[in-house]
C-alpha cells in the first residue's frame, strides 16, 4: 500500500534524532504558551522564525507545527485547573472542566482532555495522510480559474465562520485584499501605493501584519484588562478516569474528533470553531443537557478532542493547496517561504520526505504530549504564578527581533507597530481581524489568477462557471453564504415582527 510506504518514509525522517528533538521542543513550547494566557501561537511562531533560519526546512516545520497543536494541550490544562483558558480554543473546556476540578475530579478532567486530544491527534494525522494524496491529485488539475474560485471559497468561508457581523467581516476581508496590492504589480512591474518608500515596493510582509494585528494588539489588550486573580490549585490527584467516566467520555471524544476533523479543513476553521461546535453538539444530544456547565465529562472530552483534530486537519489545505485556513497556517506559509518551499500540491511529489516527515512528526508530537504533559502539570501550574509584567516586555522584544530578521530592515518593525494600531482600531470598532489577514495572504494569488484566467479566456468571465471544478467551488461558496444568511434573515424578520 502506498499510504503505508509513505508513512514509513515519514517516520524514517521524523525519527531522526534532530527532528525528534525539534518535535519535542516545539511541543513543549506550544504547551508553555498554551498554559500562559496572553501569548498565542501567532506571536510565538513570529518569535521563533529567526531560530529556524539555521535549521533544515523539515526540522523548522516540525517545530512550528508542534507549537500549534501543543498549544491545544496546554490551553486545556489551565482552563481546567484555574478556569483560565490559555488559548481561545480552550474557552469551552473551562466551562465543565473547571467545575469538575472544583468537585475534586481535576485529575479525571485532565486525563480525559489529554486522552481525547491524543485520540483526535491520531485520527487527524491519519486523515491528513489519507486525504492529502487524492486532494493533491485533484489540485494538479486546477487551472487559474479553479484557483481563483478556490480562493473565493476560502475567503467566503473565513468571512462566514468569523464571529460577529458578517458585513464587517466582508469589509475586513476586502481591506486585507486591498492592502495586499501594495507593492510592485506582478504582471506589469508597475509600482502601486508605495508612496516613494523603497521597502513598500516589495509589498508588506504578512508576518509583519500578523505580528502587528495579533501579537502587539493582543499584548495591548491584555494590559488594558484587569487581570483575574490566579489562585494556585490544590494538588491534583487521581489521574486515571474510572471505567464509567471513560464510557461516558469515549463517544463524545469520537464525535468531537469527527466534527473537529471536518471543521479544521474549512477555511476560517481550525481549533477554535471546532471546540465550540463540539460543545454545542454534546449539549444538544445529551439526555440531560442541564448537567452541562455543572461538570459534565462529555463537555470536556468532546471539545478537547475537537480542537486538537481541528488543529491537525487545518494543515490539509495548507499542505495540499497552499491555502491557509487560519492565521497560524498563514504563519506556516511564511516559514515555508523562508525555506524556499512553495506551498501547494507539488510539495508532496517534489519533496515527499518533507511532506510525510512533517505528518509523521505530528503523531509523534501528540504521543510526546500525552506522555509528558500529565507528569509536568505541576510545573505548568507553577509557571502561571510568573506575573505577566515580567513576561510581556520580553515577548515584545523577541517579536520585534523576529520581524527585523525577516529582511534585516528596521522599517518592518515600524510597519508592525502601525498594524498594531490598526488592530486596536478595528477591534474597537467590533471587527474581527482574521478575515483581514487571510485576505491579505490570498490577495496576490487571487489577483494573478483572475488576470490569467481572463487573459486566457479573452475577457470572457463566464469561464468561472463553465469549467466544472471552478463552478462547483463557486457553488460551494454560495451555499456556505446562503446557509448563514438564511437563519440570520429569519431572526431579523422575527425581531421585526416582535411586538414592542
Amino acid at each position: 500500500m502506498e499510504l503505508l510506504s509513505n508513512l514509513a518514509l515519514g517516520f524514517g525522517e521524523a525519527l531522526g534524532p534532530l527532528n525528534l528533538l525539534y518535535c519535542l521542543i516545539g511541543a513543549l513550547l506550544g504547551t508553555l504558551i498554551g498554559v500562559l494566557p496572553g501569548i498565542g501561537p501567532v506571536a510565538t511562531i513570529a518569535m521563533l522564525l529567526p531560530i529556524t533560519f539555521s535549521l533544515t526546512p523539515l526540522a523548522a516545520l516540525i517545530m512550528l507545527a508542534g507549537i500549534y497543536y501543543g498549544a491545544q494541550y496546554g490551553g486545556s490544562t489551565t482552563a481546567i485547573l484555574v478556569n483560565l483558558p490559555g488559548e481561545s480554543s480552550s474557552v469551552v473546556t473551562a466551562l465543565d472542566g473547571y467545575r469538575m476540578a472544583r468537585q475534586g475530579k481535576a485529575g479525571t478532567a485532565l486525563a480525559v482532555a489529554a486522552l481525547g486530544s491524543f485520540l483526535a491527534g491520531c485520527v487527524g494525522t491519519l486523515a491528513i495522510a489519507a486525504f492529502a494524496a487524492p486532494l493533491a491529485e485533484l489540485a494538479f488539475r486546477f487551472g487559474p480559474a479553479e484557483y481563483f474560485s478556490l480562493m473565493v471559497l476560502g475567503l467566503v468561508g473565513a468571512v462566514v465562520l468569523a464571529a460577529g457581523s458578517l458585513l464587517k467581516a466582508f469589509a475586513m476581508m476586502a481591506l486585507g485584499l486591498l492592502l495586499s496590492t501594495i507593492g510592485l504589480d506582478a504582471n506589469t512591474g508597475e509600482e502601486r501605493f508605495a508612496f516613494g518608500i523603497a521597502e513598500l515596493t516589495d509589498g508588506i510582509g504578512f508576518i509583519v501584519v500578523a505580528v502587528g494585528v495579533f501579537g502587539l494588539a493582543e499584548i495591548l489588550g491584555n494590559l488594558q484588562r484587569t487581570e483575574p486573580p490566579r489562585s494556585a490549585p490544590d494538588r491534583v490527584a487521581g489521574l486515571w478516569p474510572s471505567a464509567a467516566d471513560l464510557r461516558a467520555a469515549l463517544p463524545a471524544m469520537l464525535r468531537g474528533t469527527g466534527l473537529g476533523a471536518v471543521l479544521g479543513v474549512l477555511p476560517g476553521g481550525g481549533a477554535l470553531l471546532a471546540s465550540f461546535a463540539s460543545y454545542t453538539v454534546e449539549k444538544k444530544i445529551a439526555r440531560d443537557p442541564s448537567r452541562f456547565g455543572q461538570g459534565a465529562i462529555e463537555g470536556v472530552a468532546g471539545p478537547e478532542a475537537a480542537n486538537n483534530a481541528g488543529a491537525q486537519t487545518s494543515f490539509i489545505p495548507l499542505l495540499v493547496l497552499g491555502l491557509p485556513s487560519n492565521a497560524v497556517m498563514a504563519m506556516m506559509i511564511g516559514a515555508m517561504t523562508i525555506h524556499a518551499i512553495q506551498p501547494g500540491p507539488q510539495v508532496m511529489t517534489a519533496n515527499p520526505a518533507l511532506f510525510w516527515g512533517l505528518i509523521a512528526s505530528m503523531w509523534i508530537g501528540n504521543l510526546m504530549l500525552v506522555v509528558l504533559n500529565l507528569p509536568l502539570i505541576g510545573l505548568w501550574v507553577k509557571l502561571l504564578t510568573v506575573p505577566y509584567r515580567l513576561l510581556y516586555p520580553a515577548i515584545l522584544l523577541f517579536c520585534c527581533i523576529g520581524v527585523f530578521a525577516l529582511g534585516n530592515n528596521g522599517f518592518d518593525i515600524l510597519m508592525a507597530m502601525v498594524f498594531g494600531l490598526v488592530g486596536i482600531v478595528f477591534l474597537g470598532l467590533g471587527c474581527e481581524l482574521a478575515p483581514m489577514l487571510l485576505g491579505f495572504v490570498l490577495g496576490p494569488m487571487m489577483e494573478t489568477n483572475l488576470r490569467r484566467t481572463l487573459l486566457l479566456a479573452q475577457g470572457d468571465a463566464s469561464v468561472f462557471v463553465t469549467r466544472p471544478i471552478s463552478a462547483a467551488l463557486l457553488a460551494a461558496a454560495l451555499v456556505l453564504l446562503l446557509t448563514v444568511l438564511l437563519p440570520a434573515w429569519r431572526r431579523t424578520r422575527a425581531d421585526a415582527f416582535r411586538p414592542d
Binding site: F195, L396, C400, A405, G430
Partner: protein, 196 residues
C-alpha cells in the same frame, strides 16, 4: 460577539470602511484600469475600493437605522481611530513637505504616540512608542541600546510595574537576546552603536 447592538459604533465603523475604500479608489485611479481581457494594475484595487465603499455604506446605514429605532448604544472610543488617522495624514503631510518618506512615517508615529500619552492612553503609548523607537534605533544604535530602551520603557505600561524590577529585567532579557540572536544564531543584527 457583542451582547448588545451598538449602532453608534457601527455607523463609525461603516464610515471608516467607506473612507478607506474611497481613498483606495482615488489612489487606484492613477493606474490603468484595462479591459477584461487585459486587466490593468488599477483593476483589482478599484474593484476592491468600490466594494469597500459599498460595504461601508451598508454597515453605516444599517447602524443609523437601528440607532434611530432603538437608541445609539454606548459611546465610542474615538482616540485610537483619531491616532491612526493622524499618523497616516501626518506622514503624508511630512512627506509632502519633502521629508524622506520613511522618516516621515517614523516621525508621525512618534508624534502620534506622544499625543496618545498626553491623551491619557499610557498603555498604548508605552507599548507602541518604544517599538517605533526600537525600529529606527536598531540599525544605528545597535541591539543592546535599542533593546534596553524598549524593555525599560515598555515595562512601565503594566499596571502593577515595580521600579526595582525593571533594571534587572531589561539587562537580563537584553543579554539573553544578544546571546541567542546575535551570538548564538549569528543573525546579522548590529549589536553596538555605529560610531562616526
Amino acid at each position: 460577539m457583542d451582547s448588545q447592538p451598538q449602532p453608534r459604533r457601527d455607523v463609525i465603523c461603516g464610515l471608516t470602511f467607506a473612507a478607506l475604500g474611497a481613498l483606495a479608489l482615488v489612489l487606484a485611479g492613477a493606474h490603468r484600469f484595462g479591459t477584461l481581457a487585459r486587466i490593468g494594475p488599477g483593476f483589482f484595487p478599484s474593484l476592491l475600493g468600490g466594494l469597500l465603499v459599498a460595504l461601508g455604506l451598508v454597515i453605516a446605514a444599517r447602524g443609523a437605522l437601528a440607532g434611530l429605532r432603538a437608541g445609539w448604544g454606548e459611546k465610542v472610543d474615538w482616540v485610537p481611530l483619531a491616532l491612526l488617522a493622524g499618523l497616516l495624514i501626518g506622514a503624508a503631510i511630512l512627506g509632502g513637505l519633502g521629508i524622506e518618506p520613511r522618516q516621515a512615517l517614523f516621525q508621525a508615529a512618534i508624534a502620534a504616540m506622544g499625543v496618545a500619552y498626553a491623551a491619557g492612553r499610557r498603555v498604548l503609548a508605552l507599548i507602541l512608542g518604544p517599538i517605533a523607537l526600537f525600529a529606527m534605533a536598531l540599525e544605528s544604535a545597535g541591539l543592546v541600546v535599542a533593546s534596553l530602551g524598549l524593555l525599560g520603557v515598555s515595562a512601565l505600561a503594566a499596571r502593577d510595574f515595580r521600579r526595582s524590577e525593571i533594571g534587572p529585567l531589561a539587562i537580563l532579557v537584553t543579554a539573553f537576546a544578544w546571546g541567542l540572536f546575535a551570538w548564538g544564531l549569528g543573525l546579522p543584527i548590529p549589536v553596538w552603536p555605529k560610531l562616526g
